[in-house]
């Protein structure tokens, strides 16, 4: 009868050592690199002999670190927006499926899948160019950048949500007589929050890449904010390898770090 005394699958008691999660070390390395980049960018003005914040064009490394403040802060803002939009999209699809029929849910998510296969990153330079009068306004650019990442987040979040809704412990909870509200509060929300947040991290590398590509073409962030992409593009046009290497290297590192974090977050939620 021992098998009947098992804890519920939604709250397992682990009596054996937990094996290391897939990609955990890589994700931790990515987080460490990203934090180091953010700290170095924040401390970059101190490299100007304690003087006021200014662009240090004479020193490419310091200038690249200063540019990191614009790129990283914009990426964080757009990623939060994109993650929220994507998760909202997935929840809307699920709600449509609950309230109307499965066809509406399928269509909503099929639209996300189709959009995720299009080069939406090109919308960012397009917006940067067409909204020329809004130079200095970061908000519209952040919304468009977030929209480029939202479909991929929505597709992954919906897949995670669908897998969770098929879990046996939800059937067991309903069979035990719990109301839908109790199932939602006690089982669904606690178990869904982590995979949905993990899906949201997928937005971070996408928005950083989209912003950098747009800035590289001269149609991204305003020059006053600074951006790794803009510095790389300018150096490539001028043919200046000394000015090219530091921002390119920092941008590549930041992209690797954000990808590692997103991969580790997503892989950490997959059950063997």
């Amino acid at each position: 009868m021992a098998e009947l005394d098992q804890p519920p699958p939604s709250h397992p008691v682990l009596s054996h050592p937990v094996p290391p999660r897939a990609g955990f070390a890589r994700g931790l390395s990515g987080a460490a690199v990203l934090v180091a980049l953010a700290l170095a960018s924040a401390a970059a003005p101190l490299m100007a002999d304690g003087a006021a914040i200014q662009r240090l064009d004479a020193d490419p490394v310091a200038a690249a670190l200063l540019d990191g403040r614009g790129s990283l802060s914009f990426a964080l803002l757009a990623a939060v927006l994109g993650g929220a939009l994507g998760i909202g999209w997935a929840l809307l699809a699920w709600l449509l499926g609950k309230l109307s029929d499965a066809r509406a849910e399928r269509r909503t998510i099929a639209a996300a899948h189709r959009l995720a296969g299009l080069p939406l990153a090109l919308l960012v330079p397009l917006t940067g160019g067409l909204a020329g009068g809004l130079v200095g306004e970061v908000g519209p650019l952040a919304v468009v950048t977030a929209l480029t990442a939202a479909p991929a987040v929505a597709a992954l979040a919906h897949a995670e949500l669908s897998a969770l809704l098929r879990a046996e412990f939800l059937t067991a909870a309903r069979a035990a007589g719990l109301t839908e509200g109790e199932v939602l509060r006690r089982h669904l929300i606690p178990n869904a929050s982590r995979p949905l947040l993990a899906a949201g991290t997928l937005a971070l590398p996408r928005v950083l890449a989209a912003e950098s590509a747009a800035s590289l073409l001269g149609l991204g962030l305003p020059p006053a904010l600074g951006s790794w992409g803009a510095s790389v593009g300018l150096a490539a046009r001028l043919g200046d390898p000394v000015a090219f290497v530091p921002p390119a290297l920092l941008l590549a590192l930041a992209l690797w770090a954000t990808c590692a974090i997103a991969d580790a977050a997503v892989a950490g939620n997959r059950r063997p």
Binding site: L118, P119, G129, L130, P205, V232, G233, A236, R237, P241
Partner: protein, 269 residues
């Protein structure tokens, strides 16, 4: 000449174009129509009289940049990634492991900037441009093919074909070429979408930085000038081109995937 239990029987050669044609027919609404709509829209609303012709030739330039890069990069990356699973410490295996791990470090637009820098220093544009666009595709292919090859050679269910071929006495080269490699390459073609997106964005950056007459450069120049009538048709056409490249990848997967050549029904392809 084919081996008695080869995964690709002789009639496969005759069947080869069928999935390609089927996929291309499926791609008409998502690929051909947007390209036609982009060119038509350009003819209707763009301020220049020859805008439609310029967009059409620009699409050809972008296709010429992306398609060979994707094909060569994916093929080499898939081979290197597969070899990394077979002989991880050999030179080819080390290259495969490097490519599989370095994908996020080497986005297409950044490599396009490197190529532009090299061209400013006097290098030739065409080979550098193709290389810049091929490397992200190779990284993506190596990243997908390495674990697929490990599964094909492993003790799990997916290694059944390889174990049976070895049990029937085939030499290792034939086993790898005809049984393991198709299983490793099929997921690469299925996951080509990310590589296509990276190649298209990289091609737009490359065209703009090197002043090539592609559809991407047309879009960026029009956006710089603040012209929606010039940039939106190019964006629509580029979306169609992306869908076309994705459909070609799926057709190649249908042709390569061993599950589609099995004599037993299989729904997972």
């Amino acid at each position: 000449m084919s081996h008695p239990i080869c995964r690709f029987p002789p009639d496969t050669v005759l069947l080869m174009p069928r999935p390609l044609i089927r996929r291309l027919i499926d791609a008409v609404p998502t690929a051909i129509l947007p390209m036609a709509a982009g060119v038509g829209l350009s003819a209707l609303v763009a301020p220049q009289p020859d805008a439609a012709t310029a967009l059409l030739s620009g699409l050809a330039v972008t296709l010429l940049l992306t398609l060979p890069s994707l094909a060569v990069g994916t093929a080499l990356g898939a081979l290197a990634g597969s070899w990394a699973a077979v002989a991880p410490r050999s030179v080819g295996g080390l290259i495969g492991r490097f490519l599989a791990g370095a994908g996020p470090l080497l986005p297409g637009f950044l490599l396009a900037a490197v190529a532009a820098l090299a061209v400013r220093a006097g290098a030739s544009a065409a080979p550098l441009g193709w290389t810049a666009l091929a490397i992200p595709a190779a990284c993506q292919a190596a990243r997908l093919s390495r674990p697929a090859m490990e599964r094909a050679l492993g003790a799990g269910l997916e290694g059944g074909a390889v174990r049976m071929a070895r049990g029937l006495g085939l030499d290792e080269r034939t086993v790898l070429r005809h049984h393991a490699l198709p299983q490793a390459v099929a997921p690469v073609m299925g996951g080509l979408r990310a590589a296509v997106l990276a190649a298209v964005v990289g091609a737009v950056a490359l065209e703009s930085l090197l002043d090539l007459p592609g559809a991407g450069a047309l879009m960026i120049d029009a956006a710089r000038a603040g012209s929606a009538a010039g940039s939106l048709p190019a964006l629509v056409a580029l979306c169609g081109l992306t869908a076309l490249l994705g459909a070609l990848g799926l057709a190649a997967r249908d042709w390569i995937d061993p599950a589609n050549h099995s004599s037993t029904p299989y729904d997972g392809a």
